[in-house]
Amino acid sequence: MSSVANESTTATGSPAATEGAPRRILLAKTALDGHWRGISVVARALRDGGFQVILGGMSTGTEIVRAAIDEDVDLVGLNVGGHVEVAERIIGELRAARADLPIFAGGIIAPWAAKRLKALGVEVFPPGSQLDEIVACARRLTGTEPVSG
């Protein structure tokens, strides 16, 4: 869980669901709140969905931007465990560094806060979200949706 909570770790799952190299997702926690159950389950589902998941732990905006660039990720997932303003500031920093990088968010996000994040173009997955919906969203945001037949 250090890997979840504190340190950067790369974990590779099964081969990508689509052609080519697996897409890379950075999952990071915005708050100094080490509850790891949610992010652990989501990381597992994304890996099972063929993504490479990099766990950033409890990170500041600066740390998340650096990790997103250094790890050359295709998508950033923010585990929002605190005030939505912290997440908004991190989203601003990410957009300033890499405007094209898609972002989604999960965690204890009140409906009013979810509306604010959605207004910034960030998809929000509050508690009770279905894992397959999260994986489908990740595929959509990384352009790796399975070809419909």
Partner: protein, 545 residues
């Protein structure tokens, strides 16, 4: 619990115990059948520690509460007491308290809007005084906060110092500070905290200090809840709590300064969770009391019955409270509270119906208290102790949980004990296995949650918006921190810090007397954290994923 049924097992308890369609006398193991007739108040106490149960002592209504500035938290505590809460609980800001950082620590500044979100900021005793303003601490059971091991010495010393300044003798105080390993070493792992060995030393110091100066205080409270909500199932939670108690009691015994009967009494106030798994969780409380009796008599040779009665505090599971259709959580809170009462808890906190959205609003908090009051005053449940006793099903579950829990204790002890399995990450792996199987069961619809993965239609989907955060907690805390630095008697503070650092390096000295001095000299938590970190370094968080 063998089944005569030839079909594959389709019905299981949440912890995986296979369930029959009905139970009879043959389902109760012989060893458990022998103690079935033991009345409440008689050993091994699975039926309850006290013959009269709730007739003479209703459970304590005891809600987690706190946010924002100390004044905000104080106001909420008063609100709860006015509404009938019978003990009160101080929550501390996670950013500062859990990490022993002041608000100007870079990791806090980077997310300053989070400050005060789930507890008030208390960096020095001045802020604790504000939080306790006008509260009747001489006559009310208080939780000083300090749920986190490395934070407990400061939180306790600050609470006790406020009492001293009011002229209340320490010996008169009753309350607790929890100081629990399950919280930040298993469930909600802080970014930086002391290793488990000095953590154990801190807890043993608190136990010894309380036995000398605060005989009515519950010095530590092992919180199985935090293990349960992280993923441990019922028998794992039970086993881990017992193995944790072994760590404390072995350490106190090794030191040889305290009578083991007294030590057992000090450590015997324990916390579990209840979930929607009504009968298994009620049985869990019964099994816990029986196991406690066995552990204390067999491993430590304790014979005094007062020390053999485990006292239980229950918090209803936050993880079982849902984001979708949140008013359904009032029903869930009621059922989980009912479970706690049927299991014979001494103390109870009910999660707010907005638990999955925010910290409790005033209304959610009031509902949590009302749920308990309705159970106490309208149902007539308190009239009879251990109402589930003698149920073939519940007795069979009690015995089976106990059997599995002892196996789990053996597994933990074989690896060097509870703390060793936190250090190695073994316990986290057990929790994660259950998190994942539960997530899979929910995704497949095998585990149904109303409003979440079935019956999702709701006429008012956003009816609860949660409690809005306080916006000035950070600037006010920063101002107060700077005021303390400006105004305190610097020579006294420096001397206290030097003494604290020396005490950290000397395991023969108890940390609490010098912590009391440091707090009185207005040493701040950030400074205390720096001293701890310099003396002991950081816990190496185990790798998991």
């Amino acid at each position: 619990m063998h089944s005569h049924d030839q079909r594959p097992p389709a019905y299981r308890s949440a912890s995986g115990i296979e369930l029959k369609a009905s139970y009879g006398p043959e389902d109760i193991p012989v060893e458990h059948a022998r103690i079935l007739g033991a009345a409440p108040g008689q050993p091994p106490f699975h039926r309850g520690g006290f013959a009269q149960g709730y007739r003479t002592k209703p459970w304590r209504i005891f809600q987690l509460s706190g946010f924002g500035k100390p004044e905000d938290e104080n106001e909420r505590i008063k609100f709860l007491l006015r509404n009938g809460e019978t003990g009160f609980l101080m929550e501390h800001d996670r950013n500062t308290a859990d990490h022993l950082y002041n608000v100007d620590h870079p990791d806090v500044v980077a997310r300053k809007e989070d400050v005060g979100l789930t507890g008030a900021v208390m960096q020095s005793v001045r802020e604790t005084e504000l939080c306790l303003a006008d509260l009747p601490i001489e006559s009310t059971f208080g939780h000083a906060g300090g749920a986190v091991v490395q934070h407990a010495p400061f939180a306790l010393a600050a609470y006790w110092t406020v009492a001293k300044r009011r002229g209340i003798p320490l010996a008169q105080l009753f309350g607790t500070g929890q100081s629990d390993f399950f919280l930040t070493y298993l469930g909600c792992v802080t970014k930086q905290q002391v290793p488990t060995a000095p953590g154990l030393r801190l807890n043993a110091d608190i136990i010894e200090f309380c036995s000398e100066h605060l005989p009515k205080w519950v010095p530590v409270s092992i919180a199985g809840y935090n293990g349960g909500d992280t993923g441990l199932n019922a028998w794992q939670e039970l086993g881990a709590v017992m193995a944790n108690a072994v760590e404390y009691l072995d350490e106190v015994k090794r030191r040889g300064r305290m009578d083991m009967t007294l030590a057992a009494q000090r450590v015997g106030g324990v916390n579990f969770r209840t979930t929607m798994e009504i009968f298994e969780d009620a049985a869990k409380l019964r099994a816990a009391r029986k196991m406690w009796h066995k552990l204390l008599t067999e491993r430590y040779g304790v014979t005094d019955e007062r020390a053999l009665r485990m006292r239980i505090h229950i918090v209803t599971s936050g993880a079982y409270m849902q984001y979708q259709q949140p008013f359904n959580n009032i029903v869930r809170g009621t059922l989980m509270a009912l479970t706690a009462v049927l299991g014979g808890t001494q103390s109870l906190g009910v999660s707010g119906y907005d638990e999955a959205i925010s910290i409790p609003s005033e209304h959610a908090h009031q509902m949590a208290v009302r749920i308990q009051q309705i159970l106490e005053h309208e149902t007539n449940i308190p009239a009879v102790t251990d109402p589930l006793g003698g149920s073939y099903y519940v007795e069979a579950l009690t015995a089976e949980l106990e059997r599995r829990a002892w196996e789990f204790v053996d597994q933990l002890l074989a690896q060097g004990g509870f703390l060793a399995t936190l250090d190695s990450g073994w316990l986290h792996t057990r929790a994660r296995e259950n998190q994942e199987s539960q997530a899979i069961a929910e995704a497949r619809g095998e585990r149904k949650i109303v409003g979440v993965n079935c019956f999702k239609e709701d006429i008012t989907p956003w009816e609860v918006d949660g409690f809005p955060p306080v916006t000035d907690a950070y600037p006010v805390a920063l101002e107060r921190l700077n005021a303390v630095r400006r105004e305190r008697h610097e020579t006294a503070a420096t001397a206290a810090m030097r003494d604290l650092a020396a005490t950290c390096r000397d395991p023969e000295r108890n940390i609490m007397p010098v912590m009391m001095q440091a707090v009185d000299a207005e040493v701040t938590i950030g400074e205390i954290g720096d001293i701890f970190r310099q003396a002991w370094g950081d816990w190496q968080t185990p790798k998991l994923v």
